[in-house]
Symmetry: C2
Subunit: 291 residues, 2 copies
């Protein structure tokens, strides 16, 4: 989960990166060493303070599973976060649980190394993959996109007076423009509502795809900030459902919390594409430190 400080807005790139040829694609690329074993060097470009963003890690695991399974698109991915990842070498081990005609299920773990070179597990996921392109077009959604002001009326850190707490490389890689009505926390006046809304894109202009949605659902500042809390909100578990292949263009993201209790909170994300389709839903359970 995002930690603290307002995100740095990126300027619009002169040349837009494309799906398959972008920072996100290069930094999530895994190299198959053996069947079900993938090497990756976790990039320092997706860190928040010193921790690697959980959504970036989910995309890395998602890419390994897309290679290991007969289906390419994540439909539902459940991740349990075990220990904090650091930039640097890592290995992903995958296991094919079941392959079916329309859905396949796999498991994957991401490991790094301790001082003695022993593997330490960072995250374990279960995921079911399918083919989003093969789904029928029926939509009976009753949900509506979040009401966010036009992008030029929303704020990144270049636009606002709030100082940045700490430094986070990930903010250079995101186009994140927050709805000013959910920005009270940045001015020391949190609203008390567990909600955050933003326009979201990748700073190099790469459009969204099912894999980048795994990043998107965990890339906003936490709702905890608007609830008046500060500091680290580590994810315990995060499940994301990818419901539709996103159309090109900026995404709208809303995250909400209904229940902060006992030192934990849930955070629900909805991601909408430029065509007004609900393309991803996620929920995470995170720990909070009461400030």
């Amino acid at each position: 989960m995002y930690c603290s400080g307002m995100p740095e807005a990126a300027s619009v790139p002169a040349v837009r990166a494309t799906i398959g040829d972008s920072e996100f694609d290069r930094d999530t690329a895994v190299t198959r060493r053996a069947p079900g074993v993938y090497d990756i060097d976790l990039s320092a470009g997706w860190t928040i303070i010193s921790a690697v963003n959980g959504g970036y890690l989910l995309a890395v695991l998602g890419r390994a599973l897309a290679d290991a399974l007969p289906h390419a698109d994540p439909f539902t991915v459940s991740a349990h976060y075990l220990t904090a990842s650091q930039p640097g070498p890592a290995v992903v081990r995958t296991d094919v649980v079941r392959t079916g005609r329309t859905l396949s299920t796999g498991q994957a773990s991401l490991f790094q190394y301790d001082d003695q070179g022993r593997e330490v597990e960072r995250i374990r996921v279960l995921a079911s993959y399918g083919d989003l392109g093969a789904l029928p077009d029926d939509v009976r959604t009753t949900a509506v996109p979040p009401a966010i002001p036009p992008i030029e009326q929303c704020f990144g850190p270049d636009d606002g007076p709030a100082p940045v707490d700490g430094s986070s490389a990930i903010t250079d890689r995101l186009m994140l423009k927050l709805d000013p009505s959910t920005l009270g926390w940045a001015l020391g006046q949190p609203s008390g509502n567990g909600e955050m809304r933003a326009w979201f894109g990748l700073a190099d202009g790469r459009d969204a795809d099912p894999l980048s949605l795994l990043l998107t659902v965990d890339a906003l500042p936490p709702t905890a900030f608007e609830l008046g809390l500060k500091g680290w909100v580590p994810t315990v578990e995060l499940t994301v459902h990818v419901r539709c292949r996103p159309a090109p263009g900026p995404l709208r993201v809303s995250i909400t919390t209904r229940n902060l209790a006992g030192g934990f909170l849930e955070e629900d994300a909805e991601v909408w594409d430029s065509a007004g389709r609900l393309v991803a839903q996620s929920r995470q359970l995170a720990r909070v430190r009461l400030g």
Copy 2:
């Protein structure tokens, strides 16, 4: 997920069963054959038509993990449903992923046997366990309990004119009283709203505990019925967060669907106890057959 037909309301038992000595406890009891290997005979008492209820299966896996892990309470359980379970012998295999001071993470799979006696995996789960009793009492919940009429104004099948589609043993084991405003489907007039609300208990009067909440989140008729769909709504993935140890007395459950699209829907459950605490939240991704 619940399939079809209105649930049978059970009469109030003369002698209330207790936690540890009830049908639910006997039918979810697992026998440790070896470290991390548990035998169980899946009861025919929790079936819907001929399929075993997914919430009951989750409780069986949850009980095995409570034995295998150093912590007893499920905090977050993510289940991927692979193949349909049948009443009869099964084995649960658990794996301790990580043990920590406040949280432990485990994995478990439930297997049954094919005609040749080979193991077939039914469900795989990842789960993080802790001690609900050790959590601080702080509550900043903004969610409010669902508005359900008093229990005596709600309906079980004994109270209504709707015929029962098929026969489901599970209905004999539940005290399920549905809010009449979410019962249009039973009269052939679904509201089109993806919502279902009910009072919930176990028919033998056993109070709720964290393990029985794993059953509760998947025990109502599906929201799909109120969306005008009929038939089987098989769960692909279900994640539940247990947020608080439930107080004695009946529970209130609401389930909602915001996005029915492409042949899938999500279903969110909230479970509230008699003290007005939000004790569990769940989300599942299920397939639908458009009717």
